[in-house]
């Protein structure tokens, strides 16, 4: 399935909200094992928060190997690619490092307990 990202977020791929819109569209398709093509034609400005939510979050419950097979990025600028690569490196660490995840979960639990 092909998605024109410009039609979802416009020329700025920068916010968590726009990232969530993309994630909500593609996650069920990928989770079911179907391929997606993300076409960034017309999208000009990228910020890490957008990719954290739209793409990094996929690694929560879909293995990296599967994503490598199923996701294709097209017409993305070199700057967008640079941000995307960094976000995926962070996300792989975040979602695969059990100790790291546990440490984060402890912090979240402690903070929740103080509320």
């Amino acid at each position: 399935m092909a998605y024109k990202i410009f039609n979802i977020v416009g020329e700025y791929a920068i916010t968590a909200e726009s990232g969530q819109k993309v994630y909500d569209e593609i996650h069920p398709v990928l989770f079911a094992g179907n391929p997606v093509e993300l076409d960034f034609t017309g999208v000009k400005v990228f910020a890490s928060l957008f990719f954290n939510v739209a793409i990094g979050q996929l690694l929560k419950d879909i293995p990296a190997d599967k994503l490598n097979r199923l996701v294709e990025f097209t017409a993305i600028s070199s700057d967008g690619w640079n941000v995307l690569e960094r976000v995926i490196t962070n996300a792989k660490h975040y979602y695969s490092d059990k100790e790291f995840r546990n440490a984060v979960d402890v912090v979240i639990a402690e903070q929740a307990a103080t509320l």
């Binding site: 416009g10 920068i14 890490s48 928060l49 690694l59 070199s78 941000v83 962070n90």
Partner: protein, 304 residues
């Protein structure tokens, strides 16, 4: 900058020269504390510009924050516009600062970079501001592709401020083009909790000094926002961009200071404590200084 008593209920704020001198920054940071410490019935303040002959973009953004802080605390401001020197009046009128504070002249499109106060996170409006009002005035010799890349990196400053600062007054910005030096500047200020305080809100960071906390914030993957989303790429990408492209980034936040320039990153603990964060970014005005990633990524298949 002087805050003097006219009588018990009325204070006069004398705005003096403000440029990028560290002494001037310290005066501004102390003034913010003085205003915070004033009792509510002493917040009727008259603003006088008699002693001001130069007001840099740092000063414009900072004064905007100070004035909004006074209003937020229930105070009132009376501006003695007649004391403004003509040159400064013209600049402040054109960049919208005067209009934002009740002066009856609407800003106009000219050579100054507009002053902004973003109370809420409207990232598309901020992206437009960076792209068209800051970079897009024709004084920066860069391609549209680089313009977009710079906009994306600088947006990380705003995203960080809105996500972490807890500023009740939003974010204040102003910029300046320095043609002789070949630099374009932008200052972004919030009067929130500050980056070191935010970093120390995590139990594992409680003992960090200000400079250790700032270093932590710039490391990839580190974020004080702890939810189910991985974060912490923005400041690291910004740092990398500044170093690669011969720019300069200065941060004052709480008692921490960072300066990032060509292959050099300095972290320091300062004696003056600023309750908030001031970030100034300075970029070269010529594309020949820049190094962007090539398009070879199109061949790379294994991204995850």
């Amino acid at each position: 900058m002087l805050l003097e008593t006219k009588n018990q209920a009325n204070l006069i704020l004398y705005v003096t020269n403000i440029d990028d001198n560290p002494y001037h920054f310290n005066k501004l940071f102390k003034l913010r504390d003085e205003i915070e410490a004033l009792p509510q019935d002493c917040l009727n303040i008259k603003v006088d510009f008699h002693y001001c002959e130069f007001l840099g973009h740092y000063g414009v953004a900072f004064l905007g924050g100070l004035f909004r802080l006074i209003e937020l605390r229930g105070g009132s401001l009376t501006f003695d516009w007649n004391t403004l020197p003509d040159k400064i009046r013209m600049n402040l009128a054109q960049n919208g600062f005067l209009y934002d504070f009740g002066f009856n002249t609407k800003p106009w499109d000219g050579n100054s970079i507009p002053y902004r106060n973003d109370l809420h996170q409207n990232m598309s409006a901020i992206a437009d501001y960076l792209k068209y009002n800051w970079l897009g005035k024709g004084w920066v010799n860069i391609s549209p592709r680089l313009q977009d890349a710079i906009t994306g990196r600088v947006l990380e400053i705003y995203l960080n401020a809105f996500d972490h600062s807890q500023s009740a007054m939003g974010v204040f910005s102003c910029g300046q083009h320095y043609p002789k030096l070949g630099f374009l500047h932008l200052t972004v200020i919030d009067f929130g909790i500050g980056i070191p305080s935010s970093v120390r809100s995590l139990p594992q960071n409680l003992d960090k000094t200000a400079n250790e906390a700032l270093k932590w914030a710039f490391e990839p993957g580190n974020s004080t926002k702890q939810d189910s989303i991985s974060r912490g790429a923005g400041l690291n990408l910004l740092q990398e961009f500044i170093i690669k492209n011969h720019g300069n980034l200065t941060i004052f936040s709480n008692d921490g200071y960072v300066n990032i320039s060509d292959n050099r990153v300095i972290y320091e603990n300062k004696c003056t404590n600023f309750r908030g964060t001031l970030i100034n970014i300075a970029l070269r005005c010529d594309e020949s200084y820049y190094c962007l990633a090539s398009e070879v990524h199109q061949l790379k298949r294994r991204l995850f």
